[in-house]
Amino acid sequence: MSDAVSALQGRVATGDVTIADAGLQGMITLRCDLSAKSLKAACKTMGLAIPERGQISRSGDKALCWMSPDELLMLVPYADVAGSLASVEQGMKGQHYLAENVSDARALIHIDGPFARDVIAKLAPVDLHPDSFKPGMVRRTHLGQIAAAFWMRDDGAFELICFRSVAAYAFDLLAASAKAGPVSDVRAS
């Protein structure tokens, strides 16, 4: 077996806001009844709580993102995907659910810097005002002309996922948005 490579293969665009390939990230798409006790239990064994609508719940290097009323995205280290899938399978036995490894189907990009909110707000129709969008929230939306989802870390940096095939577009778009600078609050002239 050969070493897997991420779609962006480590690209970085350095600036006041830096856009960087986050490398390989384990991702499992999970569809089921989010209120099922077995799901809660299965996630608990992995140290994860079921997130509220529009939220991400984290525990160490793992996280669960709310994606829709019957869909979660599980984030685990790339090497742990098979094990995590097995845990889910174990916990959800006998239940109707779907769990698929989508780690390679996606790209994960970090957006880090003082006006990271602006960089995304130029591209996504999301209220990114600090009073509205806070760490712990996840938004499934679009970025320019592609589908994307993002959340904010406690340190104010953003993590954004998109489909692998459009990773280069997403990266270039974010890099251009960062390079164009912040949308300063120009007052009276």
């Binding site: 050969s2 109707h96 989508v102 209220d127 692998r164 577009y169 009276a188």
Partner: protein, 1003 residues
Amino acid sequence: MSTRLANEGRLLNKGKALSFTFNGKNLRGYEGDTLASALLANDQMLMGRSFKYHRPRSVVASGAEEPNGLVNMGKGGRFEPNQRVTTTELFEGLIAASQNHWPSLEFDVGAINTHLSRFLPAGFYYKMFIHPRPLWKHVYEPFIRQSAGLGKAPKDRDADSYEHFHCHVDVLIVGGGIAGLAAAVAAGERGARVMLLEQTAHWGGRAVVDGAVIDGLPAEEWVEKTLQALEKMENVSLRSRCMGAGVYDHGYALAYERLTDHAPDTNSLRHRLWRIRAKQIVTATGAIERPLSFAGNDVPGVMLAAAVRDYVVNYGVSVGDRTVVVTNNDDAYRTAITLLEAGLAVPVIIDARTQAAGPLIDQARALGIRVETGKAIAKVKGGKRVTGVAICAQAGEGSVLEEVACDCVAMSGGWSPVVHLWSHCGGKLMWDADQVMFRPDPEKPPTGDKGQPFVSTAGIANGHLFTAEVVGDGWAAGRAAAKAAGHMKKGAQAPLGEDQEEGPISPVWLMPQGANYALRSKAWLDFQNDVKVSDVQLAAQEGFESVEHAKRYTTLGMATDQGKLSNINGLAVLAQSLNADIPNVGTTTFRPPYTPISLGAIGGAAANDLFQPVRKTPISDWSNDNGADNEPVGHWRRPYAYVRDGESVEDAVHREVRNTRENLGLLDASTLGKLIVKGPDAGKFLDMMYTNMMSTLPVGKCRYGLMCSENGFLMDDGVVARMSEDTWLCHTTTGGAEHIHAHMEDWLQCEWWDWQVYVANVTEQYAQIAVVGPNARKLLEKLGGMDVSAEVLPFMQWREGQIGGFDARVFRISFSGELSYEIAVPAGQGAAFWTTLMEAGEEFGIMPYGTETLHILRAEKGFIMIGDETDGTVIPQDLNLGWALSKKKEDYLGKRAHLRSHMADPHRWKLVGLETLDGSVLPDGAYAIADGTNENGQVNTQGRVTSTYYSANLERGIAMGLVRNGPDRMGEVIEFNKVDGTTVKAKIVDPVVYDKEGAKQNV
């Protein structure tokens, strides 16, 4: 002449002179000038020619409503036509040139049209050029095209960059005049997130020019103080040079920010398009002064009264030494007073009202200005420049009482509130007969999802003409909007404005009221489109009674200014002609944007490399490094062929076709859709989705399936593999990945919501590579890891295991008729796996092949392609795929539709092979001609070509097509049309022209 005054110009920085050129002439202005004020300061009155009659024109206004002052600006990558001189801030090195004239601005040949205007009335083009039909295309249109058009189209790629910005606010306030500022303070104090937009570079609107008094302060000081207070509010954001362009459903609004138009040639962004979601929108957009309709009201030097005032106060420019003021209201007296105070002469104020009394009139009289009431302008004297006016009685027909020499005419027909943004999303208007204006009807605002009003209007835009009302109304609107958005904090008191009393306005739609035809045909309504009072009257006379019809017939209000000056005057003339009330005639529809916005801003970042996302497979980079000649397939770029040095694309295709049949080919099939369908009801669900039976497919096996829409038309096909007891993997076409996923979700969410099925699109999780050709198995056996023998992995089965150390799913399926394995590996290892195959395959003659070879190989085998053999009107029966329509299943999507008489018609065009007698390649899409002609005189048809290629294996053209009763006509020769008008003969044959028995794939 127009010139610069010594002591005026509140916006000017006279310490900083700027040089610019107009029509190649070097001119100078100051920082703070607009291009309009700078041109006037240089006595450049003539700025362009009108659209239809090529009449000399100068600015009539001082702001966004300007219809005449449009110029070509910049050069090269920064060239742009139709730039409005009144909203263009002057900068060092500005290059401008006038439009729509030939050979020169001063002498224009097209001006002959003005003498022919009697022969160019409204609807002239419709009447003149309708017959004979062919002349329009070949003679009239090319000729008219040459003489029409305002600016030149840019030739170079836009050198600037643009962006969008999304933001959400509680209260969006459009307009930074005193009403907007008061609204912003009120809403801000309540705690709402507020955004205040001002389209110009300056705050305060008209109040600062007209010397309003608020809270005991001159407006200029109050504005400054209020701005300081707003800047301290963290919840309030102020943006100047940012125009509210449009209001749309659900509180969506667009704003157009001009970041560097006033300082171009920098590397920063030029425009930003704000995409705003607001809970509440307050339009405090002010009002636009109306022109008066009298003969010669378009002669350079005739201007709106407030514009004349603006040029003096803001820019220190006098349009003329002697200005005649003509009005139907008190406000224009301010212009006369301002001019007098600036040391200029006002020989007479012509007031159409029979009575004029009040403080402003008294003040004017006290300054010694002659006021003539009940009078009108019979006509303006002068051609390229006003030289005087002829005065008559307003009540009469235009008999001249006296002539007064002047070089400027300041006209005021009253004020029309800017109701555009209020109206964009359905806000209704009411007619205010006392103030002679349409104003927003507060009972009929635009409403949101729950029926709640989401737009309100404030100040002059709301029909309040006086300072006290304006600031009070702005304040109240801001408070109410904040409250409606859920913010209730207490705030300070409303500002108090002070006013001079003004007398009533009198409606004047034509001057003099009984003007004869000669005068009416020189009284302009729409300056930019050259529409006169006589044109609108003619439209009414000819039966164009609806305001929308009259607009289109006369082109009134259809120019780039969208009738900001002309609409109300035009519809009043129409109402009079129809003997109807103005409110019964109504207005035309107000549509965004308020003034034109740049295409660059609309595109935002989507330019050049970011114009459109290009999808890449894990193998795309390798392909591009190895000669791929790509073709677009949706947003993907797939290699059409891998071209080697010295080869043409065609050569490469022929080589790839032969090599795949003889040795070994490799295809990047990663773009094919892969949908996981799982759940207790997944089998039942797939039996509904596909025409054939999928629930009975054993685990480990594959089946080719067809999908029809509800209407029975074939929409997708692909191989379905059973992964486990409750899980299937459905392959779709490349184009079908997303929409078949959506199609499945649609049925699951909307129809069969109680079925236990989940679908996941895992298309991009895998790189899928087809290993195709007689040597395919040898290659996989060499790499090792799993048994791929015919016994262990027979045709139409799949296994999971390892190939050369890669985790792989191997599908023994074939779209080429060759021994073929499609191998899926995780996308992150796709490129490595491809390279491994290429290297290990060298000894077996491996070559990558592209989509054209894929197409040729499948066509040789008679396999259909969605999009070639299907076009949304084709059913499986047409393609002889009746075998895939399950007879056992009670139902599936499309089954019922297939029973319709037309679907069951035995004479439908059906799939056959086509072999040209001369071996040539049939033109794609060619029709098979039949005897006779149809009712339109066109040749009858009996079929068409759906796929056509040159087969390097057979060394001749091959084709498939749909032909009436085709399968029953084997061996018959029919004729297909060619674009050169000749035909080509082809024999109807079996679509399978290569290895009919399937010996090659079943080894």
